[in-house]
């Protein structure tokens, strides 16, 4: 079996007496779209926070591309190639759409802060750093990919809800990740937009990005996932292909319900 993109060993996180995640084991294969589903409060977003380093795990080990991830700070993990979007959209309110994407590029263009400072000081008068033009071209490419190129001068938070979700994905992709964690990308989207999202996520995967997807829209999940892990109260209750999950009695009882409208 080839080395997995992400391997999780007995990961646990407790908030007071409540186990948000309890002894989770799972593997995400390279190049897969791996869905993580379960009722609210099952620990899906906590899982994202632990993998990206926003929260520290109480126990357990995260292995990304064969290396143990131990960096405390999220930015280091982003540099390694793990990016995410947020369930409650977190865009920068005073930046334009284009600038938002260029924030994602910053860590690749300027891995060293001193280089960034030097480039800020040494630009030509009333001009911009040479790197800036290259960053803008990349950002425009990404925005075109998400169909947002014509809105690049709008304020990020002025966009319609569905576009804001896409912009979050574009910003995350600008960090050139090899693993992308999507936290409910379809929330608040209309059926048409959700349909578009199907294709977008698949195309992102085809660019060589492994995807972990948290989503409540079961049609989307069943359509595009290669593998599904089901959580309930912080524990894994099932793991398998979409067909297996739909037939799994434990999952039907905990989450899907008897009549799955598929």
């Amino acid at each position: 079996m080839p080395e997995p993109c992400l391997a999780i060993e007995s990961l646990s996180k407790r908030f007071g007496g409540f186990y948000a995640l309890n002894d989770l084991r799972m593997e995400v294969a390279r190049g897969h779209i791996h869905a993580l589903i379960g009722p609210n409060g099952a620990g899906k977003t906590t899982f994202f926070n632990l993998v990206t380093g926003v929260l520290a795990a109480d126990r357990g080990q995260i292995t990304f591309e064969g290396e143990i991830v131990a960096d405390a700070r999220p930015s280091r993990r982003t540099l390694r190639g793990i990016a995410r979007t947020f369930q409650n959209i977190r865009l920068f309110p005073h930046l334009t759409v284009l600038q938002t994407v260029m924030i994602g590029e910053h860590c690749r263009s300027y891995p060293s802060m001193w280089k960034a400072l030097a480039s800020a000081v040494l630009q030509r008068p009333f001009g911009e750093a040479r790197e800036e033009g290259r960053m803008r071209d990349n950002a425009l490419d990404l925005l075109a990919f998400f169909g947002l190129a014509d809105k690049c001068d709008a304020k990020a938070t002025d966009l319609p809800y569905g576009d804001q979700r896409k912009l979050e994905m574009a910003r995350a992709l600008a960090t050139q990740p090899r693993l992308l964690l999507l936290d409910e990308p379809a929330a608040g989207m209309n059926p048409h937009e959700t349909h578009e999202l199907d294709e977008l996520i698949t195309r992102v995967r085809d660019r060589g990005v492994t995807i972990v997807l948290v989503e409540h829209d079961m049609r989307l999940v069943m359509d595009i996932s290669d593998r599904i892990t089901v959580l309930n109260f912080g524990t894994k209750i099932a793991d398998g292909s979409p067909e297996e999950i739909q037939r799994n009695p434990a999952v039907i009882e905990a989450y899907l319900g008897e009549d799955v409208p598929l």
Binding site: T52, V54, R73, P74, S75, T78, L79, A83, R84, F86, R90, L91, F92, P93, H94, L95, Q99, M102, I103, G104, E105, H106, C107, R108, S109, Y110, M113, A116, L117, S119, A120, V121, Q123, P125, E128, A129, E131, E132, M135, R171, A172, A174, T175
Partner: protein
């Protein structure tokens, strides 16, 4: 450089306005990453005392002492900045406030720097105005370039959502520390310039009132664009002088007019509040701060007003 052109009085006004502008930029640097510091007066004290000691006790020329004093203040800034990284908002305000008080107590009790008597006979620098003008120009160019750069954008993103910036790979810790240290260094330079102009500093020279004043400069001018500190500090420092000139102009009006409507007395009253050496002007600053919060909470200049100014429109047309 300006000896023949400007009289001494105007020079001293320009110098203190310029030092205010530099101090305002020292507040602006950490503020760009969302850090609100009430410790800038403390860093000015570090720079002022350091430069006084270097010139008077070690015989360094002012031109050499100035950058060294700035560096010392910057290093102190990075040291203070480390614990400041973990806290935000009101707690950061309290930490930096505490730092300022510590510095002032050290200045009061350390006899090597004059203790309670203050530091006397600091060598006077006859060319302060040249230095001030030069440094203000350098700062405006620097912060202008920063605003157009990727690093400046990263700082803005930290200001707006620190967690999101960190998750997007921005090295929040180092950039915040850089901004804080940079601000401390600029404050140190402002303090050194002040010390060698006034030739005397003591533990109350760089007090909490000064720290609040520096904050007011940026709040009034606008903290979201690099022109804000310049405009805020210049307007507020120059306001009393403007009123004084207006008063002199009013003297020229016919007596009957001023008796009928005692405008000059209104100006006398206002001017009494805004005088340079007058603590009462803090009352006016307080009122200005409250009014600004109500009318224009983002300051006179914001990132949205800049492109609408006539010069920016002209530049955009001819670009």
């Amino acid at each position: 450089m300006f000896d023949g052109l400007i009289d001494g009085y105007t020079q001293s006004i320009l110098i203190f306005t310029g030092i205010s502008v530099i101090a305002a930029y020292s507040f602006f640097a950490p503020f760009k990453t969302g850090q609100v510091s009430l410790g800038q007066a403390g860093f000015m004290a570090v720079g002022g005392y350091a430069s006084a000691v270097l010139t008077q006790k070690f015989g360094l020329p002012f031109a050499a002492a100035l950058p060294v004093a700035g560096l010392i203040a910057g290093v102190v800034g990075v040291v203070v900045g480390f614990p400041a990284l973990r806290i935000k908002g009101i707690y950061l305000l309290l930490l930096t406030l505490g730092f300022g008080e510590i510095i002032s107590v050290i200045a009061l009790s350390w006899d090597y720097v004059g203790g309670a008597q203050g530091y006397r006979n600091i060598p006077f620098n006859p060319r302060t105005l040249d230095y001030v003008i030069g440094i203000v120009i350098v700062l405006v160019i620097f912060f202008g370039r920063l605003e157009r750069s990727s690093l400046g954008r990263a700082m803005d993103s930290i200001h707006q959502d620190e967690t999101a910036a960190e998750v997007m790979g921005i090295d929040v810790v180092r950039i915040k520390l850089l901004a804080f240290g940079l601000g401390a260094m600029i404050a140190g330079i402002a303090g050194a310039l002040y010390a060698h102009q006034a030739t005397y500093v003591d533990s109350t020279t760089f007090n909490i009132m000064l720290a609040v004043e520096i904050l007011t400069f940026v709040v009034v001018g606008g903290g979201s664009t690099y022109w804000g500190p310049l405009v805020g500090a210049a307007v507020l420092s120059y306001l009393p002088e403007f009123l004084r000139a207006l008063r002199e102009w009013l003297e020229l009006l016919p007596v009957a007019a001023t008796n009928f409507f005692p405008m000059n007395r209104v100006y006398d009253f206002l001017h009494g509040f805004l005088d340079f050496e007058n603590a009462k002007r803090l009352i006016v600053y307080g009122i200005i701060l409250i009014l600004m919060m109500i009318v224009r909470p983002d300051g006179l200049l914001t990132r949205d007003t800049i492109p609408r100014l006539p010069f920016a429109r002209w530049k955009a047309r001819h670009a």
